[in-house]
């Protein structure tokens, strides 16, 4: 069905021993002399941890940066919502942590589907991130001695997570935003808030610009640059309901894909085990309860179905099934996300779920409160308990929380090489938008680490290496490539405005979300995926026939904004399912029911699937043509592939 190309992707991973690769690479990368830097204009799309840190650092180095985001201020990027913490191999707790261990935990947590060299580099620079953030004034939690405090997170047996109450993402982003503000004031970074990237412009085979639309005025503009950096976050909202912000989208990366950038591992989507359960159709998003809660909370459901409707405090300990502790005694409540999520689905499928629709499990703090006192628990998690009470009206100090898995993070993204450059020269991709470091499952507190690693410490070395050969090559926007891209963008907007049907965007998006959640969510199988692949094109047709997008394009028009994003999700969903169907194995968060161990764990097939799947767009002809698959074999020089065990 698909054309498959094996081994034509070059990751440009440097030679040499794992722990020397990055140093050697930096030592030999080409540099741009300080006087030449201001001659380069760098386009950075996104102002979250990845884009914000990249823009600020490149500005500091003397490049001229143009930074875009869709929110009204760069400080509102969705990184702001991260709660639990950020990992770093500082070994401040003297509990045996090291760069190697953080690397190994990440590779293993990702079920051996990420690149060794990238992941090692991530662990290697993790310490610098904490140094940098502390210097910026990020108010991390401290011990009484004044030293930095740590907590534990899922998938690790050491305490290496740094945090700022339950608002770590907010504080890291505000640190990064302050660095960005300093550069805006210095004139090196020009910020374009409420400006959406709608297309990538490729000139002579290189990424040299973008087409944007001002969300405030509707004005469409062409922007030329010497390189384009995409830092546009994840695509979890393809499922409609997720823990992402309303505006999170796949538009920037998907449109780059349509221009030739490869999309890697789109089916690696993470479902987070601890979210507030879904309550009704009106709901516009799901709210995460930080994984850090699993440090002190115990997860359980009743042993017998007949107890599910009883008030939890009336169910005696002997009648409760602490299923994570039972199945995974050494990691217990801290087993990795994919495993904890699937275990929750399993007990609910058995009819032992609690709350409305039986789609929930308890997360109980009674023991921790007895052991540590309510004050300590409130100091650790007070704001999360408040959020929970606001949404559900229940007091979790008195009755256990009810939680259920929800779509949270996307490991897939645009394919990049070791330099974080896509297959399109000049197009760099950082943060959640790329596919690089987390394999088939991301460990908690590692996304913040990756975003900042990419932006502060990797891109500033690898981008100049590209730029050094690009002096004076920035094209003018009079080139036909720009005009063509602009024309396409306008045509798409006109087409959306002309549909004039009678259905709302949300109703179609919700339908898509439900379909994906059921057929391509926590568990997937061939028949279900084939069914989804049959239904998605029909839903897309329905969209282009029945949806109503009011207003016009020359104005502040939120319906039009959303329409463009939903249209892209409707195409992207197909790629997601094709990837899930083609990856005929289970690994990490990608659980194909056909492939499981006797006790229901993901069963990898390293012989046939220890590869990155990178998809190439093949155009559309009424329907989307089947994309072309490129495979990058993953080479493991240091770690041994093993069956993941958290027992």
């Amino acid at each position: 069905m698909f054309v498959i190309m094996i081994g034509d992707l070059n990751s440009h991973t440097p030679h040499g021993p794992l722990d020397r690769k990055w140093t050697n690479h930096k030592d030999h990368a080409r540099l741009v002399n300080p006087n030449n830097r201001r001659k380069f204009e760098i386009i950075v799309v996104g102002s979250g941890l990845a884009g914000g840190s990249a823009a600020a650092t490149l500005g500091e180095l003397g490049y001229r940066v143009k930074c875009f985001c869709y929110q009204d201020s760069p400080r509102r990027a969705h990184s702001i919502a991260a709660q639990g913490g950020i990992n770093a191999a500082k070994n401040y707790q003297n509990d045996g942590d090291s760069i190697y261990r953080l690397f190994y935990d990440t590779i293993k947590g990702g079920d051996f589907r990420s690149r060794e060299a990238n992941t090692y580099r991530l662990a290697e620079v993790s310490g610098n991130i904490i140094d940098q953030c502390v210097a910026q004034g990020v108010p991390f939690a401290r011990e009484y001695s004044g030293y930095l405090a740590n907590r534990s997170f899922g998938g690790a047996q050491v305490s290496r997570t740094f945090y700022a109450r339950g608002q770590t993402g907010q504080q890291l982003l505000l640190g990064c935003y302050s660095a960005l503000c300093r550069q805006i004031a210095a004139g090196t970074v020009q910020m374009f808030p409420q400006t959406e990237m709608l297309d990538l412009v490729i000139v002579d085979g290189q990424a040299k610009g973008i087409v944007t639309r001002s969300l405030r005025t509707g004005k469409i503009e062409m922007v030329a640059g010497d390189a384009v950096v995409l830092a546009t976050g994840g695509y979890g909202n393809v499922f409609y309901l997720s823990t992402n912000a309303r505006g999170c989208n796949v538009t920037a990366t998907y449109r780059a894909y349509k221009k030739g950038a490869l999309f890697a591992n789109p089916c690696f989507t993470q479902i987070h085990p601890t979210c507030i359960p879904h309550a009704g159709d009106y709901q516009s998003k799901l709210t995460l309860m930080s994984e850090s809660l699993r440090n002190d909370g115990r997860v359980w459901v009743p042993k017998g179905k007949e107890d599910c409707a009883k008030p939890p405090n009336e169910i005696p300990h002997t009648e409760r099934d602490y299923y994570l502790e039972r199945k995974y005694p050494s990691y217990g409540n801290l087993s990795p996300r994919d495993i904890a999520s699937r275990a929750a689905k399993e007990v609910c499928d058995e009819g032992r779920g609690v709350g409305p629709g039986g789609r929930g499990v308890y997360l109980d703090f009674a023991d921790a409160i007895k052991r540590l006192g309510q004050e300590t628990i409130s100091e650790r998690y007070g704001n999360l308990f408040e959020v929970y009470e606001k949404i559900t009206g229940e007091n979790a100090y008195k009755v256990p929380m009810r939680i259920y898995p929800a779509v949270h993070y996307t490991m897939g993204g645009l394919w990049v090489d070791y330099n974080l450059m896509s297959n399109v020269p000049g197009l760099f991709v950082v943060g959640e938008a790329n596919f690089s470091d987390h394999g088939a499952n991301r460990l908690g507190a590692s996304a913040l680490m990756q975003g900042l690693a990419d932006g502060y410490f990797v891109l500033p070395y690898t981008l100049p290496n590209y730029l050094a050969g690009q002096v004076g090559k920035r094209p003018s926007i009079d080139r036909p490539e720009f005009k063509d891209a602009e024309r396409e963008v306008r045509a798409k907007i006109d087409k959306l405005l002309k549909i004039n049907g009678n259905r709302s965007l949300d109703s179609i998006h919700r339908e898509l979300g439900e379909l994906l959640w059921n057929k391509c969510g926590m568990a997937r199988n061939k028949a279900g995926l084939e069914e989804a692949l049959e239904k998605i094109p029909k839903l897309r047709e329905k969209f282009w026939r029945e949806v109503r997008v009011p207003g016009d394009g020359e104005d502040f028009n939120q319906s039009l904004e959303r329409a463009g994003r939903v249209a892209d999700f409707l195409e992207f969903a197909e790629l997601l399912c094709i990837d899930a169907l083609t990856r005929d194995e289970s690994c990490g968060a990608h659980f194909r029911e056909e492939h499981q161990t006797p006790d229901g764990e993901a069963l990898r097939d390293d012989e046939n699937f220890a590869d990155v799947f990178a998809w190439e767009f093949q155009g559309a002809n009424g329907t989307l043509n089947p994309p072309k698959l490129h495979r990058e074999p993953l080479q493991f020089e240091t770690v041994h592939l093993t069956q993941r065990s958290y027992k």
Partner: protein
């Protein structure tokens, strides 16, 4: 549940706006105020009317995007919390709910309930940072911060930058916003070097944006979704006097 809504509609910055009545019927009590607006927008759309423009993003009270005045109060009656954390079950059946944007000169209206808060960004650009060049930072644990100071700093740093403080203030003062950033950085040893310059520049930027003065009314504290204490304003005043004194004595 059923409600009578009165919603501010305004075509663009220059047009005149007014309150329009809508009946919101059959609203699930568990829906948030913004989800209620989503439901209304879906209905308006199907009736061929233009949906109500309002801003939101994270919908969990941390991004600071939503900026509604509900029944005369910034972020509505359920403090502390942003408008996205306000649930319909908190209102009475049949209640009239008036929904307007944050109103002040420094936050011009873009459309309906959407405002322009770039003034707040410019205050931070004036000096709300520590100039720590990427790569130049010392080992993190070489800077010790007493737990108490770290906690106080975090309390100030928790500001979500929504601007409710200025919207609620009869003087349209952005003192709480500015005080939070100044206090966050002035409480930490890393912030010491730029302490004087920072507070002076930020206060000047705040004045230049047309925000008013603080006269201790404390409405800001009452509506702040992040529960930033007004005592930080006293700290800002101290920081500012200290800075101007240092400057005038030629230090």
């Amino acid at each position: 549940m059923n409600f009578r809504l009165r919603v501010w509609r305004q075509k663009d910055r220059k047009s005149r706006g007014r309150l329009i009545n809508y009946d919101a019927t059959d609203i699930p009590p568990q829906a948030s105020l913004l989800e209620m607006l989503d439901i209304m927008n879906e209905r308006l759309l199907l009736r061929g009317e233009e949906p109500i423009a309002f801003d939101s993003d994270c919908r969990e009270g941390i991004c600071g995007t939503c900026s509604l005045t509900v029944n005369g109060e910034a972020h509505g009656p359920d403090h502390p919390g942003a408008a996205c954390e306000l649930y319909m079950r908190k209102f009475k059946e049949g209640e009239t709910i008036v929904i307007e944007p944050f109103r002040l000169k420094s936050f011009p209206i873009v459309k309906d309930l959407v405002i322009d808060r770039s003034a707040l960004d410019r205050i931070v650009q004036a000096g709300g940072f520590i100039s720590a060049r990427t790569g130049s930072a010392p080992e993190a644990n070489s800077i010790l911060v007493p737990k108490h100071d770290a906690d106080v700093s975090m309390e100030a740093a928790a500001c979500i930058g929504c601007g409710a403080c200025a919207a609620a203030c009869p003087n349209a003062s952005a003192m709480l916003f500015t005080a939070a950033k100044v206090s966050h950085l002035a409480t930490l040893p890393q912030g010491e070097t730029e302490r004087v310059r920072r507070v002076v520049s930020m206060v000047h930027a705040m004045d230049a944006e047309g925000f008013g003065n603080c006269t201790n009314i404390y409405e800001c504290e009452a509506v702040c979704p992040a529960e930033i204490s007004a005592s930080f304003i006293a700290k800002l005043n101290r920081e500012y006097s200290r800075a101007t004194l240092k400057r005038s004595s030629g230090e």
